[in-house]
Point group: C2
Chain length 369, copies 2
DNA sequence: TTGTAAGCGTTATCAC
DNA sequence: GTGATAACGCTTACAA
């Protein structure tokens, strides 16, 4: 079992399926790697002719082409993209670096980007940073060495800068997604964090909430800053004070939200509503509340940025500011493809996608507070 | 905006950021591609010495190594993996083909596989088939041409066979995940579909349900067959009749569940509970129920295979048979890495991971039916 | 410890 | 229409 067993204590049954016979093993040699040269030899033509056939070049006699194609099929020949890429200087691959695929927002981004890329004949090399700047830097290095034709990155934060700088210097086709990185000027697809946060908090205020807490991420992250600014602005406009006690800074993930909520619950004077900087922190917050036997929205209101996919269907519960995740993905893919197509020195573009306030019940709407 | 505009009607603002100056453009030439030869020339050594340095070979004098490393850093040299792969016959890349990244089950699989692969220095090329066998076949072809060192595939179904056959013939390191494909013998990581379904339906029966419908996928999919078998067995053991009217066959996705539910709702004699073959069909079913103004579990019970991540936290609602998605991913990655390490002719292995019945409220437990 | 030559699998270029 | 040759960026094998 060699290392399998300790990987997952969860193994249930391990059964060797029916074995491979000696007869089949004899075939082994026959299925060795076949290269373009092998095809050429078999077909009695030069390698160049085979190359022309697989690239659909016009100047090949129909008869020759058919003969070559027959050999290709019979040998099961598949061109080697490493060799092709080495000479053509393009791999048909785009790197996608995101903090967490299991976050529904990024899962949708990924899917949309993949679909868009595929339409243009590109594939996606996906990397998960888990919010780790060091890993992010490693991945960038890695993807460059793999000669990806372009890069879409949802950076961890401003500290991503040093890792991104080499890409800027090389004028690598690069699109930043969701978050910006201070000092990095390149194409950028963002949501309207400021406006979205503002409307969300305004909504809470309109419902009668006066003490509104915010769970936010590190100041290093642009979306956190913008959403915090929206929060402040909404309070300010309503003439409400900004109470530092009500601000809980944490990491932008589920455990972070959990911890932040615990901190908020320790306050002497608790808030009547909480605005979480994103969906994962809201889930963590929810978990902490549940453990304390507190219910939403009866005990406290809870709203956040980013919808939690699928949840809306099962239990339309959380009031959120939704972002068009799929548009983020397809837009970013499209922009990076355009950069690849004309590697020119065009000015960086900023695309800002709109948010949508979705009022459900978690904010206490309809409770007549 | 050249094609950007029609991509997403959702564009909000598009702003060119501050431009790139002529002075910076002068640098452009300086940042041209640097190769191992360039480093060698700069450092006054042969290409081989540079190669030895980047591969941490022992036989390099410390002084030489440092000199080379300094040049590497100053030139920002990054080795070209295409060239390395072409000669070493390995790319450090594993292909992962799944039907849908946005399905929480596969998102977790992906993340776990990625983490496991990274620990061993491998990267993941991720492909989404959207349940399309044709696309799946294309992707397999594609990944082979990219010279991936191994492949993890959650096949669409039995019809994936012809696409998988070439891999078997080449003895490509291959692990099938979640679903098997008829006639394909290779490593396989599966859940206990039969047992899980059986326990789930037994639970419904214990709660007093007598008319239990099932939403299932095409007969082509192994998990569907096994879960259906579990359903039949549970009914049989309890002495309940198997009513063909209560079986709705559909596609294994959200729209599929939606359609199947509509079909079930048209029955003269409706079931008191429904077993959906997976989480996505359950979500679709839920949507259809909601549109009809029917509530779960009051109007009808609804249970399914696969937990819906995050949902349990927000609203512990759906009774499910949960599968350890992360174990699926890390196990599959580990198995394919082992195949890569020793490309030997080992017999195919079957790993079956256990399921867990999680009773919540959607089944009508506690309603005193 | 370091260097030389050949070649991985493909294509650009220029002949024929 | 087709082929010979060099080259993409690197490493293996051998020599010095």
């Amino acid at each position: 079992m060699c290392g399998l067993a300790d990987a997952a204590t969860a193994i249930y049954v391990t059964v060797p399926l029916s074995g491979i016979t000696k007869v089949q093993m004899a075939d082994e040699r026959a299925e060795m790697k076949v290269s373009l040269r092998d095809v050429a030899k078999q077909a009695g033509v030069s390698p160049m002719t085979v190359s022309r056939v697989i690239n659909n070049a016009v100047s090949v006699r129909q008869e020759t082409r058919e003969r070559v194609e027959k050999v290709i099929a019979s040998l099961g020949y598949i061109p080697n993209r490493l060799a092709q890429g080495l000479i053509s200087q393009r791999t048909g691959t785009i790197g996608l670096i995101i903090p967490d695929v299991a976050n529904p927002f990024f899962a949708l981004v990924l899917r949309a980007a993949e679909i868009t890329a595929r339409r243009e004949g590109y594939r996606l090399l996906v990397c998960n940073t888990e919010g780790d700047v060091g890993l992010e830097r490693d991945y960038i290095h890695n993807l460059i060495s793999h000669q990806v034709d372009g890069l879409i990155i949802a950076p961890v934060g401003d500290r991503s800068r040093s890792g991104l700088l080499p890409l800027i210097r090389r004028k690598y086709p690069l699109v930043l997604l969701d978050r910006s990185a201070e000092g990095i000027e390149c194409d950028l697809v963002q949501g309207d964090s400021l406006g979205g946060a503002q409307r969300l908090v305004q909504h809470l205020i309109a419902l009668g909430h006066r003490r509104i807490a915010m769970i936010l991420g590190p100041d290093d992250v642009s979306t956190t800053r913008e959403r915090y600014a929206g929060y402040c602005e909404a309070l300010n406009t309503a003439g409400l004070p900004l109470d530092r006690d009500l601000i809980a800074e944490t990491t932008v993930d589920l455990p972070g939200g959990y911890r932040a909520m615990q901190q908020i619950l320790r306050l002497d004077e608790r808030p009547s509503a909480i605005f979480a900087v994103n969906n994962m922190t809201a889930l963590g917050a929810m978990q902490a509340l549940r453990e304390q036997g507190l219910s939403v929205p009866e005990s406290v209101g809870l709203v956040c940025f980013d919808d939690v996919e699928h949840l809306a269907i099962l239990a339309p519960f959380m009031t959120v500011v939704d972002q068009p995740a799929e548009a983020f993905g397809s837009m970013a893919a499209q922009m990076v493809l355009e950069r690849i197509a004309r590697r020119a020195n065009e000015k960086p573009r900023l695309v800002r996608l709109p948010t949508k306030l979705i009022v459900r019940v978690s904010c206490g709407a309809g409770l007549g507070r």
